[in-house]
Amino acid sequence: MVLGELLPNVNELFEWKGIFGPNTAFEFNKVALMAFVSTIICIALFWIGGTRRKLVPTGVQNVAEAGYLAIEENVSIAAMGDEGRKWTPFFATLFFWIFFINIWSVVPFIQFPATSRLAIPLFLAIVSWMTFIVTGFVKQGPKYFFSNINPSGVPFALKFLVIPIEFFSKYLLRPLTLAVRLFANMTAGHVLLAIFAIMTNELLVKHNSGLYQVIFSPLPFLGLVAFTAFEILVAVLQAYIFTILTAVYINESVHPEH
């Protein structure tokens, strides 16, 4: 009840007024701005890092090279083997762009992850979904659509059960789960941080309730600090999960025997 009185309408945490073109299909709001700033950061990072040629990399070059190689090692090769190397640019783009739009959740004065709106996670999930379907079709031809949902070694009687499940799982639920996993985690993190920030503000700044305030007011602040750190972890982890699942799905399309 107390929280209900303190907290504003939850949409106020997620709805942003248009910077230009309000109420049109091209309304440019804070989410769009963050997406473009993330794009610029990504391009700047890898452009500067990629064009420097120091034998012992330092600074931006070091970050760019280490980041690229980390994705190659931990996503491309881990999910697809050596063949995955040629997919590294796609996975690295996916990972770093998602990471940068996630990490806005803890950047002071912005504190809002663009992925806590469903639009971008849904778009990325559909990109991932279409990529693994197109790849499967290119690699295996039309038989991919059936062989993908017809696992070998399943008794004939069970196929009536397994094939519909696989169909729903692979063709319908995968993009949905990819999108919802990213969106829900970032939304929950944002709400959690907002709740602790509001509680801290109420208890440390606004209210003056004597001993009660002295005892309890540091708790939400400590929670806020802890959850901010946790949110950084979530930002990295969700970007990694999205990317590695995409790699796993693409690998299934490239190697149907797996």
């Binding site: 794009t39 979904w129 197109v134």
Partner: protein, 232 residues
């Protein structure tokens, strides 16, 4: 080829999402406008000619008051977000990552070349050191041979010198003995003549011409020979 496929996938994704009915709803303006439209739809939906379904209208009105669903994706965000992603994907895959990969490859090649040349240099150095060691070994053995030869020569020369010296010494000794012998003989001869003369003179004085000269000489010779035999 791959980048074009991915861009195509991205554009298709935009199309698919844009075609979803819920998205079309999300693009319909600000909150007040949405509530107004919702109320209008509720009136229209619950009006049948002159009859109004107030219960249904009340229910729809409550729905209009509810907050917009968080899981409704907004079309402008999909458009701008999708565009931002496609831009980053195109730029990174077309320009930044190839440059980065080339840098990594160049460095890998350089390190490999450096390691190989270092390995070759080490092998060359080891081969050269082995050659030097062999040359030093040869020089040592050659020096040993020279020293042995020198020793043998010195020994040979020493022996020759000693032999020659011994021969010369023997020759000298022999000559000296011969000289001594000749001198002795000469001395003996001289002595004998002198003793003969002295004895004759002495005998002449003693016997004063009792004996002729030939007898005296024979007597003296006999005496000297007996004396010579005694002295040997």
């Amino acid at each position: 080829m791959r980048i074009r496929s991915l861009l195509l996938a991205g554009l298709l994704a935009v199309g698919v999402v844009a075609a979803m009915p819920s998205v079309a709803h999300a693009a319909s303006g600000n909150h007040a406008e949405e509530v107004f439209e919702c109320v209008e739809e509720a009136i229209e939906a619950n009006t049948r000619g002159n009859r109004v379904d107030y219960t249904g209208f009340e229910h729809d009105l409550e729905d209009c008051k509810k907050a917009k669903s968080l899981v409704t994706p907004a079309l402008p965000e999909i458009i701008w977000g999708g565009l931002a992603f496609l831009i980053v994907l195109a730029v990174l895959m077309k320009f930044a990552f190839p440059a980065l990969k080339k840098g990594l490859k160049d460095r890998e090649d350089k390190i490999r070349d450096d390691l190989e040349s270092a390995s070759r240099a080490r092998e060359d150095a080891e081969a050269e050191a082995a050659t030097y060691r062999a040359q030093i070994g040869d020089a040592r053995s050659e020096a040993n041979v020279i020293i042995e030869d020198a020793r043998a020569d010195a020994e040979r020369i020493r022996r020759e010198v000693v032999t020659r010296a011994e021969a010369e010494a023997a020759d000298i000794r022999e000559r000296a003995q011969e000289d001594i012998r000749l001198a002795q003989e000469r001395a003996m001869s001289d002595l004998r003549a002198q003793v003969t003369d002295l004895s004759i003179g002495l005998a002449e004085r003693v016997v004063e011409r009792n004996l002729d000269r030939d007898t005296q000489v024979a007597l003296i010779e006999s005496y000297i020979n007996s004396v010579g035999n005694e002295t040997r």
